[in-house]
């Protein structure tokens, strides 16, 4: 943790905030007008998000389905083109890069997807799969590439006997290891992990989480860890951002967020997780209603329809994300 603190200080001096700095990022999906659709519909999947990630840090991003967390992860990597805003990676605005420069930039920025069954081509062997990024960027000779694959495979805990096997011969956990190996082969600095353990059983989930943490330390990686599972995010992150309907409602250091959540939504989210303990205290807050449609988000604070602390102001005025302490930001009128 102190390491992260030092980096923060250094960056304050240089004016740069972290390896990745996102400013006012928006991604809107528009359904065009048509005969059946007289009005243009706009889904504000990611609506004006600003945050930074320091080098060597894991930022957890949590929220319910449809809140835009995956879209944010993709927009940061330009896998889906953002509508507006800026994404500075090591000081370079990657949204302004041309196709070729962006392609080179991708070596440093990788992604791990949720479903290890869908993200591996079933007709390619492990060797071909993991080597593919090296092939794409034409790095090294055939032999060097294979050696590199064997090294990486060992790093993620798979034996080199597996080189000629196909994905279907592996279990879910092993496949996720292959996906991680492929993401690591170009020595990236920054990895977006989009629900990497959600499809795995609990006993396998803990193996993969431990592996990711160990790799992060050994290779000095920076993670954006997207998940709906607050317990998993708590385990792996340094800081956590909570998203609701395309907005960040709270962002704080892990410790303070989990011990003393501020935003009513974060509080409700925390108390709705069933704790595997028979003597766990009764949950306190149960939200009524459901997440409103992002096609037609509520006016004012987007959470006001489900919030038990809602005041008049919440219905009309949207709260801004403001600092309430050194490292905690929250978007709620209660804390202004």
């Amino acid at each position: 943790m102190s390491g992260v603190g030092n980096i923060l200080n250094e960056q304050e001096k240089t004016g740069m905030k972290g390896i990745l700095e996102v400013k006012n990022l928006k991604k809107h999906f528009v359904t065009p007008k048509s005969f059946f659709n007289k009005e243009e519909k706009r889904v504000r999947a990611v609506d004006d998000i600003s945050l930074f990630i320091s080098k060597g840090e894991t930022l957890g991003l949590v929220g319910e389905s449809g809140c835009g967390k995956s879209t944010f992860g993709r927009a940061v990597l330009r896998l889906t083109e953002p509508t507006s805003g800026s994404v500075h990676y090591n000081g370079v605005d990657i949204l302004k890069l041309n196709k070729n420069d962006m392609r080179n930039m991708r070596q440093k920025m990788q992604i791990i997807f949720q479903d290890p069954y869908a993200s591996l081509n079933p007709r390619m062997t492990v060797l071909e799969l993991i080597r593919a990024p090296l092939d794409a960027f034409n790095i090294g000779t055939e032999k060097e590439r294979e050696e590199k694959v064997i090294d990486i495979l060992e790093l993620v805990g798979l034996d080199k006997q597996n080189l000629r096997k196909y994905p279907h011969e592996f279990s879910g956990g092993q496949r996720q290891r292959i996906v991680i190996a492929r993401a690591l082969i170009l020595n990236p600095e920054f990895i977006v992990c989009d629900e990497p353990v959600s499809a795995l059983d609990v006993s396998i989930q803990s193996q993969v989480l431990n592996l990711m943490q160990q790799l992060k330390q050994e290779l000095n990686l920076t993670f954006l860890f997207i998940s709906h599972n607050l317990s998993v995010v708590k385990h792996i992150s340094d800081r956590v951002a909570v998203m609701y309907l395309g907005k960040i409602v709270e962002i704080a250091e892990k410790k303070s967020l989990y011990i003393d959540p501020l935003h009513p939504y974060t509080k409700a989210l925390m108390s709705s997780i069933p704790i595997p303990d028979i003597d766990a205290p009764e949950r306190k807050i149960i939200l009524t209603g459901e997440v409103p449609s992002p096609l037609n988000p509520p006016t004012g604070c987007r959470f006001h329809t489900r919030c038990s602390h809602c005041i008049e102001k919440c219905k009309v005025q949207e709260p801004a994300l403001v600092n309430v302490s050194d490292k905690t930001m929250v978007a709620c009128h209660l804390y202004e």
Binding site: D201, Q207, P274, L287, E290, V291
Partner: protein, 321 residues
Amino acid sequence: MANTLLEVNNLQVQFSTIDSTVTAVDGVSFSVNKGETLGVVGESGCGKSVTSMAILRLLGKTGKITQGEILFEGQDILKKSESDMCQIRGKEIAMIFQDSMTGLNPVMTIGKQLIGTITVHEKMNKKTAEKKAIDMLKKVGIPSPEQRMNEYPHQLSGGMRQRVMIAMALSCNPSLLIADEPTTALDVTIQAQIIELMKDLKKTSEAAIIIITHDLGVVAEMADRIMVMYSGQVVEYADARSIFINPLHPYTRGLLSSIPRLDKDVDVLYAIKGSVPSLQNVPKGCRFCERCQDAMEICKNKPPVLCTVGDCSVRCWKYTK
């Protein structure tokens, strides 16, 4: 025991594939008392869903119950005719499935489906059935139920659909409700709502519940007794308190300590090494032996039997005398 509602003895279910036979459930025995909630926990492929499908005899063409008996209110379900089964399914034993989108008919309104279930099992005219359906929807907390009756499943959200499924399952006052991963497909805030609803229903109705899940948090909130399954077998069967306070089987203990928890901090998670063995190639000794940190010589060669320790049953050589 007059209080026992369901008793499953030595159940074995096999699925035949082209080149082999897989034993998905192997010698599972348990019982459910009236009004009790039994939690069945295990990882994917451990046979927890197959067990519940066997109780309803819904195994399809490839699955066969090759051994054992299932006594429901003292009568063997396996000896019933298909038409008797139709009377039991939905009326006596109801089921809630994980995926509410595939559990409901997409081309029928909610009302039609609910009324259909009620009129099949109970002698009621359409008017009274409709009234009852609306009552049920009210009971599970659906706002403006009269209007919802005329809507199709796709017009409802996931949480609402799951409520409809619960309403449908409870509409004929079943004495046993089987819920197969009822909250897995839902978001946490909605999951909390559904769990709360099921807890309320547990208090108000007399139905016994079998809740099948991989989430130990969910069973901690709901279950009176818990059965932990691994690779088609019961490895531990005890009341909920002792499973969480004093788990006996190394697998149960591993499972509990490998979950990242909100209320505790650890630097490195406990990980059970390896993965679940394939059912086509089960180990000769204890099925958990290769992953077990307490494995002894005997574990590799001889399968342990379920033995009783206090009030718990556990399948492990450590506790066999």
